[in-house]
Symmetry: C2
């Protein structure tokens, strides 16, 4: 293949490419005329309405309307003159705005997927009464943990009595176990522990997938395995841990 042949740019394939591009842009809320006008401005870097109309193959007066709309949608800017000259907004900026919004939407769809998957309006949070039941559920969560298990509780002694071996097993399979509890209390085997006074509740987060909040004496708890809620609490707990880490750092200095 001779390189001279490659250099002969095929105007028809450029037109086909042009059409493909403008039809994709219609997907992000631009009308056909707007899409065409925008591609015209992109390939020319700057253009008057008359030039846009010519390149995009649309009536001159329609070009004005399309360009006006593109300005409102922040795809182009313009400099007043006779004629007014239109410029594309930097592509990176448009891409980030348009695609960023979509990425975020898909992330949120992932988060809410299955939120209402049970018949009828499910309980997003299940209430468990009685210390035995609460401790039992806590043990299940610990056994189910795969990556990270966080517990913040003033009642760590009872938890250790009941589930000390589970903590060890979790550690053994590589779970990152983080315990926050009151000073002067013995903690079970864990990756890291923190001491914090005046804990008012027992909070447990397992893998960012399930969460529990219990009364200080473990007599009652709310439990959820909804990923949306659990992830939310997980983020909250990470902030708490960051603060504890920072406090430790200051104590070191």
């Amino acid at each position: 293949m001779n390189l001279f042949d490659v250099l002969k740019l095929d105007i028809e394939s450029l037109e086909s490419e042009y059409r493909k591009l403008s039809s994709v842009l219609e997907k992000i809320g631009l009308s056909e005329y707007e899409s065409r006008a925008f591609v015209a401005i992109i390939v020319k870097n700057q253009a008057s309405a008359d030039e846009v109309a010519e390149l995009a193959g649309m009536p001159r007066t329609s070009a004005y309307k399309a360009l006006q709309s593109l300005m409102e949608k922040q795809f182009v800017t313009s400099v007043q003159g006779r004629p007014t000259i239109f410029y594309p907004v930097p592509l990176e900026q448009i891409r980030n705005r348009e695609l960023g919004g979509l990425e975020e939407a898909f992330n949120k769809l992932e988060a809410v997927k299955g939120l209402l998957s049970e018949k009828g309006m499910p309980q997003l949070v299940y209430t468990i009464s009685g210390k035995r039941g609460v401790l039992s559920k806590l043990g299940e969560m610990l056994d189910a943990s795969k990556t990270r298990f966080i517990i913040s509780t003033p009642a760590i002694q009872e938890v250790r009595s009941e589930h000390g071996h589970r903590f060890k097993e979790a550690m053994g399979r590589g779970v990152e176990v983080i315990i926050i509890t009151e000073p002067m209390l013995k903690v079970p085997q864990c990756t890291r522990s923190y001491r914090k006074k005046d804990l008012l509740a027992t909070d447990v987060i397992c893998d960012g997938q399930s969460a529990m909040i219990a009364a200080p004496d473990l007599s009652l708890c709310g439990f959820s395995d909804n990923p949306f809620i659990s992830a939310h609490l997980d983020n909250f707990m990470r902030m708490v841990i960051e603060r504890l880490d920072a406090a430790q750092e200051r104590a070191r200095v």
Copy 2:
């Protein structure tokens, strides 16, 4: 802030989130009813048309139409029954298809940006006649090179006579200089050189941004600084070099 408060999921904020999500989905070509129906199916994992209508707040019969359209657009699938059950297509698949298409479109917009930026139909390729002019332009390209300079020519002796010092300077500023020429010819200073018989033209690519093709005796050339064309030729040249590398590898074995 008490974690119990966080757990109280605000149904109204869920509804607000629902609306936000469906309005963003309208950006990828879904109508309002289609967007709402889709979000309903996502949060429920599977649903009948009646359930979709209820969740999405639309008339039952409109739900059927919206769902039919979503199937055509490959956002949902269904299993026949009484009632028919609708399922979301995996979100990753939709995301890749929709966002991938947009990413590609934006990449192409980047590629064609400014393609027609000169007044009127610009020459994508400039013709330069006469060996002196061709050699002069070649020297300019060499001096302008920043990252990679590729030249394939049977006339390397003339190029070396004229621009030997420029090759040295380019090397000095870190440019990757690659020379392809005929056997038994002395080459200027370069990063890598290859020997290839029967070269029919002189090809030069500078940083993937500008390109030149000249007659074997350098009497005439086509030159382009259009990034779209230059990148195209750059890719072509890389294939040539890969083949040369592979041939050397075979010769070594």
